[in-house]
Every structure is written in C-alpha cells, then in structure tokens.
C-alpha cells in the first residue's frame, strides 16, 4: 500500500532556505508579519509565558495551603493569588494556546493553503490580544479578588479593579472571536483541491468545532463583562437585587459562555490526540467519521449544559433535571472519541516517543477527569461535593490532564516542524514522568479532600485536612520540576537540537510534506489531495 494522501511524487517544500519562514529576522519582521506561522509562534511564546506566570501563582497557593491557618501571606493576598492563577491560566493560556498558537500554525499547513483567509485580521487579532494583556496588567494596581468567575454581587462592590479587568477580558474575547471567524472561513474556503470534508485531518475538524464555539459563545461573555463594568460605572442594575435586578442572571450569562468555552479548551487538544495516535501506532485512525462528527456534537451539546454550574445557586428542580440529563449527553461524543483512539491503537505497532507518551497520558487523565465530571452532573452527588476540592481536582484533571497534556503532545510532535530542530528524547522522557507523577500526587489527593468536605477557595481550613494538603503541595513541586526540565529541553532543542528532516515521524498529513521549518509560502505547489491522511500501513522496517 502506498502511504500518501496527495498526487505526484515531488516533495512539496520547494527550494526554500533551510531556515524557511524563520529566515527574515528583526523585531518588525515579526511584529508586522502576516505569516500565519509567525503569528502562531508569537501566540505560543505569549501563552506559554503566562502558563509559567500562572504556574508560579499555583505554587504559591500550594505553599500557603500546607498550613491550616493564616500563614506566609494574608488571606486577602491569597484571594488575589487564586484569582490571578485562574484568570491568567484561563484567559491568557488555556483558551488561546492551542487554537491561536498551534491552530494558526497548522490549519493552513494541514489543509494545503498558503495562509489563513484574512492574514491582516489574524495579525490584528494577535495585537488585540496583547492590548488585552496590557489592560489586564493595569488592573493589577488594585488586583482582583473575586475568583475568575466574577460573581455578582461581590464583583459589583469590591474595591478591586473589576471594571478595568472586564475591559481587558473583553479585548481578549474579541481577539478570540476574530481568530475563530478567520479559521471558520479558512477551513470552508481554502482547502486544497481534492480535500473534501471527509479527507480533512481530525485536528481540522476539532478546530472547526472550536471556532464555532468561539464565534457564538464569546460575544455573550463580552456583553456580560460590559454590563458588569456598566453596573460599576453607571449604576446599571441588571445584576443588583436592590434595583430589581438578579445576580443569578449574571451566572446564567457567565456560564452560557464559560461552559461552552471549556470545549474551546479541550476540543483542540482532542484533535491533537487524534493526529498523534495513528502516527505512533502506524495504523489508520479507527472511526474517522465518528471522531469528526463527535467534535461538532460536543460543540453543539456544549451550549445547552451551562446550568450544571448552578445546581446549588438557585434553579427550579425541573430545570436542574433537564440540565443534568443534557450534561450526561455530552459524555457520549467524548466517550466515542476515547473508544476510537483505543481501537486505533489495538494491534498497532506502537512506539513511545514523547508525543505519544503525552497522548496516552491525555487519554488516561482525561478519562478520570471526564468520569468525575459525571459525578458533578448528577444532582445528588453534585450537591454533596459542590464548591469542594473535588471540583478543583475534576477540572484540573480535564484542563491540565486533558488540555495541557494535549498541548504538550502537540508541542513535542510539531517541534521539529516549527523550529527545524529535533527535541532531545533523553530529557523529554524524565520531564514527562515527573509531570505525570507530580500531577497525580497533586490532584488525586484533592479528590479525597473534596469528598471529605474541604471547601475550595477558602484561605484557611480545619487542621484535619493538613496531611493530604502537604502531600498535594509536595506533588506540585514534582510537577513544577517536570515542567522546568521540559522547558529547559525546549530551549536546548531550539539552540542545540539536531536538524530536523521534513518528516521525522513519517506522518501522512500535508504539514509533514513540506520543509522543516516550512517555507514562507508553505508549499511550492499546492498539492492535489487524493486520499485521507490516515492510510498508515503498519511499521516499515
């Protein structure tokens, strides 16, 4: 069987220099670039920076939580710390990292296009993102202490600078909308000849579903934050009971965005897993259409489950039952993906390079995160564990165990393509192992703490919970060590890595058929696609 998805025998990378799109140097060559690859790289650097900043906040929170009483810093500082950890990680790292970073870089490459549909809009989206960051930094003058959810009425009254931060997040949201819009149009209009919908890589399907959510959900959080700011500035009363408003309305608005957006976080990671698993199993992906359509199904179902964040904050019994049922329905497309990945690996010739290690970690941790999500979708169980550390553990299993592991799988997978250099496996593997152990030690203990009733967000806790908190904190140090080694390996790879061949993993999708790094125009000639990208025929010796 011939392993290829396009017609013709020529390599597609043209006669570009070995440095490809990276050749042109200097600040302005990057700041004004219209090249989707450079914009993607700028997003990656920015978001990974905030991953580290948010991580430092997390470590500080964990250090404080080693002791039950008021220790190390004040409770107010603690409130600011966990708010900044949540807000930075969510808005500046986990939402944009995969879509705007890897998505920007690889969507045009995988569909055989020279760029996204609107390159200038793409650049604008990046700079709007940066503007949002600057505004958010201004809000640090009177730092936020509301938690990342901004619940009214507290957020309408606190002396912290909610107005400025709301505006910053409004800008970040705008950037997210522009990116999603750009990707939707790109995927619709710029696929290479012959690339039908059912020949698209599954990463593209998942980015398509992600873009739908970004475009349809983000405006709602935009208006929500605008109204929150206006409540503070003009005395608008939609969320203020004293004026006849309703604080629960804020929660409905907030979660109408913020639940779908968890699928903005997870769907792209699932797309990466769908790419990595077949490559390192040397087998065609199992259930292509099921995986593809389940992405879209998750995106659509995701719009109708927001109420499960509010089971205990005031909701009729009927509404709660409906939201609970709908929440369960999201598990179906998610399970479809997991079963299909497992079936893909079944009897495959699996090798365990670092991308595959992270992909397998994703499956394992995300299943834990997903199944504990079912506890929370069940009304009775949710009331027991709501606002405890169980929830904290659950969403870290999905967001770190899921999204971050997916991102790391993608970074290790595509590092040679993006930089033109190989990553050292010698450092990558111990880094992965430390992260895997550290993560589970940190967060599995929090499931137990939650079941035992330790409430989340409180700065102090009864002494009976201290032992497990110490375990969790030590776990966070192991996790952080793994992350540091991984970043050291990235830096080492950037400067000292062996030159990467165009296709080190022998993958079939179009992104691997051009140079590493790709030339500015991506392909010398736009290829004509003749097949899907998963026609792997076992391991060739």
């Amino acid at each position: 069987m011939r392993e290829t998805m396009w017609s013709g025998e020529r390599p597609l990378n043209g006669n570009a220099s070995p440095r490809g799109y990276l050749e042109e140097k200097g600040f302005w060559a990057w700041a004004y670039t219209l090249d989707h690859k450079r914009i993607g790289v700028m997003y990656l650097y920015t978001t990974l920076f905030f991953f580290l900043v948010g991580g430092v906040f997390a470590l500080l929170i964990r250090i404080k939580l080693m002791f039950p009483g008021q220790h190390i810093f004040t409770n107010q500082t603690y409130n600011v710390m966990f708010t900044m950890h949540g807000a930075l990680m969510i808005f500046l790292f986990i939402i944009p990292a995969i879509p705007s970073g890897l998505g920007n870089f690889f969507i045009p490459l995988q569909i055989g296009a020279r760029d996204v549909a609107f390159p200038r809009l793409n650049l604008m989206s990046y700079w709007v993102f940066v503007a949002g960051i600057v505004v958010i930094l201004f809000s640090l003058v009177r730092p936020m202490d509301t938690g990342w959810t901004f619940y009214t009425p507290y957020s309408a009254r606190t002396s912290a600078d909610v107005t400025v931060l709301s505006f910053g997040i409004f800008l970040i949201g705008m950037s997210s909308i522009l990116t999603g819009l750009n990707f939707l149009v790109t995927i619709h209009k710029l696929r290479a000849p012959g690339m039908t919908w059912h020949r698209m890589p599954l990463f593209i399907w998942s980015m398509y579903a992600t873009s739908i959510i970004q475009v349809l959900a983000t405006p709602v959080v935009g208006i929500t934050f605008l109204l929150l700011a206006m409540e503070r500035v003009l005395g608008v009363g939609f969320f203020d009971p004293a004026k006849g408003g309703d604080p629960i309305l804020f929660q409905h608005f907030f979660w109408f965005y913020s639940h779908p957006v968890v699928y903005v976080m997870i769907l792209p990671a699932m797309g990466i897993i769908s790419e990595v698993i077949p490559v390192f199993s040397r087998k065609p992906i199992f259930g292509y259409k099921a995986i593809a359509y389940s992405s879209v199904a998750i995106a659509l179902f995701g719009f109708f489950v927001w109420g499960h964040h509010m089971f205990v904050t005031g909701m009729s019994g009927t509404a709660a039952i409906i939201f609970s049922l709908l929440t369960y329905s999201v598990a179906i497309p998610t399970a479809i993906k997991v079963f299909n990945w497992l079936a893909t690996m079944y009897r495959g010739s699996i090798t365990f390079e670092s991308p595959m290690l992270y992909a397998l970690t994703f499956i394992f941790l995300f299943v834990v995160g997903g199944l504990t999500g079912m506890y929370l979708g069940a009304l009775g169980a949710d009331i027991h564990v709501h606002d405890t550390y169980f929830i904290v553990a659950h969403f870290h299993y999905t967001m770190v165990g899921g999204t971050v592991m997916g991102l790391l799988a993608g970074l290790h997978f595509w590092f040679p393509k993006m930089t033109g250099r190989m990553l050292g496996e010698k450092m990558a593997r111990p880094a992965w192992l430390l992260m895997f152990i550290g993560f589970n030690v940190t967060f599995f203990t929090q499931f137990i703490l939650g079941f035992e009733g330790m409430p989340r967000r409180y700065a102090e806790y009864p002494a009976q919970y201290q032992a497990l908190n110490i375990v969790s904190t030590v776990g966070s140090w192991v996790l952080a060590t793994g992350v540091l080694i991984m970043f050291a390996n990235f830096v080492r790879g950037l400067f000292r890595g062996a030159p990467a061949p165009p296709n080190p993993w022998k993958a079939l999708s179009l992104d691997w058929q051009t140079g590493s790094p790709p030339p500015t125009e991506n392909f010398r000639e736009i290829p004509t696609v003749t097949d899907w990208p998963y026609g792997y025929a076992g391991r060739q010796t």
């Binding site: 670039t33 219209l34 090249d35 296009a113 020279r114 760029d115 549909a117 609107f118 390159p119 200038r120 809009l121 909308i177 819009l181 750009n182 939707l184 149009v185 619709h188 209009k189 710029l190 475009v215 349809l216 959900a217 983000t218 405006p219 709602v220 935009g222 208006i223 929500t224 605008l226 109204l227 206006m230 003009l234 005395g235 608008v236 009363g237 939609f238 004026k243 006849g244 408003g245 309703d246 309305l249 608005f253 500015t520 125009e521």
Partner: protein
C-alpha cells in the same frame, strides 16, 4: 477583509496571492455573515435581559416607556430605514460600475446616520435633564444599554462607510470588484435591523 487588499498584502510581503478573486469574495461574504452572527449574540444577551425583566416588571415597562419620545423614535426609524435604502442603491450603482453614483449614495447614508445620532443626542440630553439615567431603574438601564450599544454600532458604521467612500474616491471599486462595498452594506443593514427591533420594544410597549 477584501480580496483586493489581500492581494496587496501578498505582494507586499512576498507572498504569492493566496486566494483567487472569486474565492476571496466568497471568503469575505462568509466572514461578514459570521461576524453578524457574533453581533446577534452580543445583542442577544441584552434582548434576553429585556424579555426576563419585562415579564417580571410589566408595570414598570409600561409606565417608563411613556417617558420616551415616540415621535423622535419614529422619525429616527424612518431616517435609518432611509439610510438602508441609500446604501442598497449605492451597491446596485457600483454593480453597474457607476462610481460617482455610489459616492453620492454613500454620502447620503453617512448624513442620515449622523442625523440619527443627532436625534439620539437630543433624546439623551432630554432624559438626563429630567434626571433619568442608566441607574434610574431596570427599564432605563435597558434603554440606555440597548440604544447606547446600538449607537456605538451606528458610529462604527459611519467610520466603515466613510472609509469605503474615501476608497471609492480613489477609484478602488468597479463593476468587477466591489466586495468591501457589499460587506459594509450588509453590516449597515444589520445595524438598521437592530433598531427596527429596538423601536417597538422600547417606545411602543403595551
């Protein structure tokens, strides 16, 4: 967002043109419709709040709306529908390649938009002079938020149409290429459409 511009960028950066003109037009059209969908959801939040609070406080809505000036509201409705007509006439003019006619109709449109905002300004000052502000009660919160957000969109529309007018003057548009005119026209119709909902919801309660 236009095909023409994309080609220019391509030339500037050494990219080959990455879309043929027909694809570029389709992409721009799909792009603007997607953008309008996001706008519907942006206003959707406020319309949802309107529905909830109107059900909750029918009396307040009835009594408060009597304080709005129906005549000015109706005049503004006519002004804005008129501007939608002129922008449509402008598009049909450039489809036949008549650039001067396009410029005339665009100027009319911008003038009507300015008239709309002028009348809105009169209404706002009148409200403020009677001590009615966004903080007065839920109805006036909704009134100021909805008309304010809409007003910002009118202003943005004037800037966009102004840019199109300027570029039309530089001879950028022709019978064969006028995508920016079409998509900014679509945006303007959307702004008009929002007002067509706002007018009865706010001025004609009961």
């Amino acid at each position: 967002m236009s095909g023409e511009v994309t080609h220019k960028e391509a030339a500037m950066t050494g990219h080959e043109p990455h879309m043929d003109p027909a694809t570029a037009r389709e992409a721009a059209t799909l792009g603007i419709w997607t953008f309008l969908a996001t706008e519907v959801l942006l206003f959707g939040g406020l319309f949802t709040a309107y529905v909830i609070f109107r059900i909750k406080y029918p009396r307040m809505f009835y009594e408060d709306h009597l304080m709005l000036d129906r005549v000015l509201g109706a005049v503004n409705t006519i002004v804005l529908i008129g501007s939608s007509l002129t922008v449509a006439l402008g598009i049909s003019a450039i489809r036949k390649g008549k650039v001067r006619l396009l410029r005339m109709y665009l100027s009319f449109t911008i003038l009507l938009a300015a008239t709309f905002l002028g009348i809105k300004y009169l209404e706002y000052t009148e409200k403020f002079s009677h001590g009615l502000s966004p903080g007065t009660d839920i109805f006036f919160s909704l009134y100021f938020m909805l008309t304010g957000l809409h007003g910002i969109h009118v202003l943005a529309g004037m800037v966009v149409l102004g840019a199109v007018l300027y570029l039309a003057g530089k001879g950028k548009y022709s019978e064969s290429y006028h995508t920016p005119v079409e998509i900014s026209g679509l945006y303007w119709h959307f702004v008009d459409l929002v007002w067509i909902y706002l007018f009865p919801l706010l001025y004609l309660v009961g």
